[in-house]
Amino acid sequence: ARTQVRTDPSETSCPGSPPSPPTVVSNLPYEDQRPRNQPNRRYAGNAVKTNKYTLWSFLPINLCEQFRRLANIYFVGIAALNFIPEVNAFQPQVALIPICVILTLTAIKDAWEDFRRYQSDRDACLSHPRSQHGFVERRWKDIQVGDFVQVLANDIIPADILLLHASDPNGVCHMETANLDGETNLKQRRVKSPFDPLSFNATVICEKPNNNLNHFKGFLEKDQIKIGFGIESLLLRGCTVRNTAAASGIVVYAGHDTKSMLNNNRPRYKRSRVESKMNKEVLCCVFLLFCMCLIGAVGHVIWLKTFSSVPIYFIPDSDGNETPSVVAGVYRFLTMIILLQVIIPISLYLSIELVKMGQVFFITQDIDLYDKEKDMRMQCRALNITEDLGQIQYVFSDKTGTLTENKMVFRRCTIMGTEYPHTENGESGKWVGQLWSHQDTTVGRDNILPCLPLRCGMHITVYHGATHLEFFLALAICNTVVVSTETAQRQRVRDPVQSTLYDIPTSSSSVVSEDEVQGTPCKGHTRRRQTWTASSLAGPKEVHYEAQSPDEAALVHAAKAYGFTLLERTPSHVSVRLPSGTTLTYEVLDVLTFDSVRSRMSIIVRHPHTKEIILYTKGADSGIMERLSQMKSESRVIANKTQKHLDMYANDGLRTLCFTRKVQEFNYYDWLVLRQGAMAAIDRKDELVRKTAADMETNLTLLGATGIEDRLQENVPETIQALREAGIQVCVLTGDKLETAVNIAYSCKLLDHKLVGKPVCKPVCVSQEVCKNMLSGTLAQLPLYDTQEAKVSVGLVIDGRTLGLLLDSDLQEGFVQLCTHCRAILCCRTTPLQKSRVVTLLRSKLGVMTLAIGDGANDVNMIQAADVGVGISGQEGMQAVMASDFAISRFKHLKKLLLVHGHWCYNRLANMIIYFFYKNVAYVNLLFWYQFFCGFSGTAMIDYWFMIFFNLFFTSAPPIMFGIMDREVSAAVLLQLPELYRRGQHEGGYRRSTFWIAIADAFYQSLVCFFVPYWTYKGSDIDIFTLGTPMNTASLFTIIFHLAIEIKSWTVVHWVIMVGSVVVYFVVTLAFCAMCVSCNPPSDPYWTMQEQMSDPMFYLVCILTTVVALLPRYTLHALRGTLVPSDHLRARQIDNMPPHHRDLWLQEWKKLKDLCASYPSLSSSTAQRYSTAQSPSLTLVQDPSPALAQSPSLTPVQDPSPSLVQSLNPKLAPNQGLNSAAL
């Protein structure tokens, strides 16, 4: 990336006073002055620094951050306590080691992360200098606010630049924002007021830096004239300039103030549920520690009281006095805290982070979650909530782009009340014949459209009405689609047509006219026959459309298929080639861009021949129908018919758009003044702009409407089915129409297909009172369906307005209650805010684990509100992905992500945490039991170094490996049997009871590990550290073998780490015992290990201890397997079978399950009943009686849509084979 900064000093510009909206003036006049005289000095420079530390500040800052964690302070406190001689349990210096190791490891991790950030900063900030024209090479970091910067084609933009000049004569500059939001279409930026950098003397006033990529406002003040500009004039840092030779402008935001940097959030830190639960267990451990210390202190006092005189082995203090027993008790309490501190798992937090890093590694490496088309892996953006994926109870899904492809296909349209189907993929051989046979009979009939695939090269002649022409013109021009050629450079089309820009195309154009060709086809006021050839459509260059929304692309492509090819779009004009081959070039007067409040967009053009000012508007029917001109009854009839068609489309699951036209009369220029005033406004700009747009969009004449199909993604029904079997509630929240949403819900099996055709009432819940009654009525109805012991399974369909009422505080309870009864929830016409409120409400009231999945900017709120946010990187940019915790590319990936990875991660982590607690308690209790034999004086019979090594080296790797790699059931079986997922939802892996059982087991095992050696060596001449050696060893074996019992599958890695840990133990212990003669005063384990290992008793003790310690757990495992075999156990057994056996068993399992499903008494969850209840606002959908589902095998459910289309629209049936066109 290169950058040129103009350094020639030039004329002055007035430095604006520094009010709150940032004011930018040119830097050029201040080139030679000192920094403090620079007018723009208070703005951020362009150097970007995302790394937190420098080489020097690393240590203090990092330490500061680490000590913000309570745990670290606790451990430092304990280490400090060790320096008090009366209290200390270990050599003070040595006691610092664990905390130092933890701090060091964390610091290394932080440093590594920071280094990576530093590297990426460096990559971004160093650019190769190159000089050209008057612009001078600068590094990115040297650019400042107020500089003039020129960027050349294919350069990366170094800062947020207000575009002031472009090489394009129209003042247009294109940029590709893929770096920023992943959208690959070109964004058009245009110069508001051209300038010459040498004479720029205006002041730029703009809003404060913010992270909204789609919004910017400000104005240029020059000689008291204000010129407003918006996002359409701003070049964003990180984007690439395309199709434009050079563009220059003034830097308004630099460095960290740029929109891309403000959008660049760090991975979010979320606390997972297991972790917050674990914190309670840590508190339990604290309590346990307190009790043990109290026992120690009281025990010591009592023990002291048994002596009437002072024994020889009491150490007087320095004055020769004995410590009073109560004071001694307090001292011992503190000593005990130091001694037993490990019971609070110091390294657990670090281990969890390591484990999660490993888990994330494996998730992102999964080849099944890789998308070939986009070359994208699964991304984990939040690193610490992997195990939450295993506990999801509610999935909230967006529809468009999530369940569906968001690749729009034009399917149907209605023009002037007549309905035309448009089939995409007819069998080509058949329809060619049909076409020809139909040609004669159908020519002249209105309801056949010339929908031909371009590749055929055949021509067909049909009649058109004028409105039809207008309709297709509107389709072609009423959008913001940019045309470009499909070359690597992405040069925008400079069509040769341009030279004949305002030539009136006539029949003399190059197009072959077979029959009579009428002149001035552009006017189209008369009915005419029109002939066109496919070859002419191919054109000299293949055009390529860059649309911001897939709907627009579909419409433009559809228009092209019917011969109305959009050839070029610039801010000032738009060219369309008509089927006749002539080209019309309209002058574009204004574009009223789309916004979700109006839910429509308009374009105002001037007709090249009639010079009429025409407004074409397209939008949702809700936004259009009320704005039609109501004059003629004829148009009212058309509107009614169209509305009927629209409802039908919606029933088919098509997305609908209405098209209107209006010829604007004299008052256009009055309106223009208002409009410009609105555009220049800074306060309430959006509102004013919206209002002026709405003023224009009145008295519209309906042209027609389109139905666009958004196909389901592959495997969506299967995924939803699997999620449901896994006990996950799937809710769909969409902004689409009710009918569309319901239809999609049926086709993706969210709702049961048997209900199709039953009327679904449009919600008209107007007041809260009505809503309340309805809710209570519905809730009262629910038990009625509950005639048998089976639970009702109800689907809830609800619309945005009703939802808004239900989300009010006093109706929330009822709504939540209703939701718990529903098997499927479908909310349509919801706003982004409502989506997030639904998620928040269910999450907080039901305390369930929620997951939100979506692909667009409208899902961001929901994604952030849910416990786990999943973004789909789809057609609508990267905003959802940016806000998400996990990013996938297809909806079907959710299945493996949850059912396999979520399940694994949760089980692994839960087991690892439980094991960690167990391990620490088991080991520490050894020391505790010894206190009963050393007068509670805080003696450790194990050398402190060994205790450190024990935790750091000997027993740390196995649990981490266990947490990353253990696998109870294989991925294949987990995918086959989604119900295995249910365990995680009910916290089957990590329960309070599991924790206490583990703690009890730890107590038992530590008792065994202590008392077997104790009784063995009782009364012998053994010394303290020699006693500690077999205890330590037996404890190690117990802890390692305990894990071995828990490990479900042994791979090479498992073997290496487990065996390695034991080997390391012996090697390190032997080496330490051999080398350390008096390096660790006063305790000194010199040669104890060697001495013990030459004694057969040592082995006898270790074997006996290990066997006795592990016997109960092993027996329990065996008993549980026999008496109460869990599903997981069975699944494991199936897993272990040879492949053909496994399939048989899986089939049998499923059969059994279906059998249960067909008898409600056997299984409540899958029992189904069928009846329908309707209320104005809530539609309850129910499944039929069990009698219908007697078959024990799974019957594949047919996709209802084809038959549905037939039944709803019989008159279209004959045409279906005929009308096909490949878009």
Partner: protein, 351 residues
């Protein structure tokens, strides 16, 4: 990470399809089938019972005998040691005992202390290993751990410093065998070689000196309770003096429990009378009674014992093995019953 992004080709970011990364490493998942579980249980039970019986037979052939001399025949000395004023007075007493059956093989003589906590944290820390290993600097400046037994009233460093050395057990014994038909014979004991080899040769060293040992300890004081200086602990063997005195080394290896014994000597079987061990008959111990135990309600005893390949007389291990064998067996029976009753039909495979 940067490399991944830079990588070229259509599938640049495709993850490796390796068994490790796809978590498809060949794995052995041990399933607890009735076959394996029951055989493990029965096998363990069998091994334990065999080991237990073997150990029991071995233990049956060991002998151990304890003679408590705290009060009984040594009442006089016990009373005398109650008063610190008598600390310097000698007191000798005799304890008699009878060996009913000959102790065959190597016989070990221990002294035992009851209720003496050598394992108190501050007591056991009160020593300076650096001093004991013979470092000159530590000799003059003992470790702070030795406080308040680091310097005497005159400010002289104590050698060996610390409470452990200060409280060294200082009774001495002479064992006499009363032959039925002959004179009383003093049982010959090895008083050397009763320590760990490494302790004697590596861990404990006298301070380096060119002249006499006394010279080496010049400028140090003897521990408070000691009657003799460290360089003169063993008047009979000059090589057994200073820090490498065997009794001192044995004492400095702090006992793990409050009731313990420490090796005093090993029967010297070179003597014809004792070549097979300790013959049956009457014995008496002549005790130089120095060590006061009444302050901690303690007891002193002499332990005579033979040892086996796995240590002294110890009934716990064999019994423990037998008991755990029994428990394993019971668990195995229970599991078998359950397996037969519940898990017999093929579907409920036992884990």
């Amino acid at each position: 990470m940067a490399k991944n992004q830079v990588g070229a080709g259509p599938f640049a970011r495709r993850p490796d399809n390796s068994a490790f990364k796809q978590q498809r490493l060949p794995a052995w998942s041990p399933s607890l089938t009735p076959h394996t579980v029951l055989s493990v249980f029965y096998g363990l039970s069998l091994i334990c019972v065999l080991l237990g019986i073997w150990l029991l037979i071995t233990v049956q052939n060991t002998y151990q005998l304890k003679v408590d001399y705290t009060n009984g025949s040594c009442k006089k000395c016990f009373e005398m040691r109650k008063y610190p004023a008598n600390a310097t007075k000698n007191c000798i007493c005799t304890a008699n005992f009878k060996v009913p059956k000959a102790f065959l093989g190597d016989v070990f003589f221990y002294y035992g202390l009851i209720n003496f906590h050598q394992n108190l944290r501050r007591y056991m820390d009160s020593r300076d290993d650096a001093q004991l290993v013979g470092r000159k600097k530590s000799l003059k400046f003992p470790s702070t751990y030795c406080k308040p037994f680091a310097y005497d009233e005159n400010g002289l460093p104590i050698a060996p410093c610390g409470a452990v050395a200060n409280s060294k057990f200082n009774d001495s014994f002479r064992l006499v065998y009363h032959q039925l038909d002959g004179p009383a014979v003093t049982v010959p004991l090895h008083r050397r070689g009763i320590t760990w080899y490494t302790d004697k040769n590596i861990k404990f060293h006298n301070p380096p000196t060119n002249t006499t040992l006394q010279e080496a300890f010049q400028g140090t004081a003897q521990p408070l309770y000691w009657q003799r200086p460290v360089y003169d602990l063993d008047p009979e063997d000059p090589n057994n003096n200073g820090f490498i005195n065997d009794d001192l080394i044995v004492w400095m290896r702090e006992a793990a429990f409050p009731n313990f014994k420490k090796l005093y000597g090993i029967l010297n079987r070179a003597h014809a009378l004792f070549s097979h061990g300790l013959p049956a008959g009457n014995y008496s111990i002549i005790i130089t009674y120095n060590f006061p135990v009444q302050y901690f309600q303690g007891k002193k005893e002499v332990v005579v014992s033979t040892v086996t390949w796995f240590g002294g007389q110890n009934y716990f291990l064999p019994i423990a093995y037998l008991v755990s064998s029994g428990m394993t067996f019971i668990a195995a029976i229970v599991l078998t019953v359950i397996h037969v009753k519940v898990g017999r039909d093929g579907k409920n495979m036992e884990e």
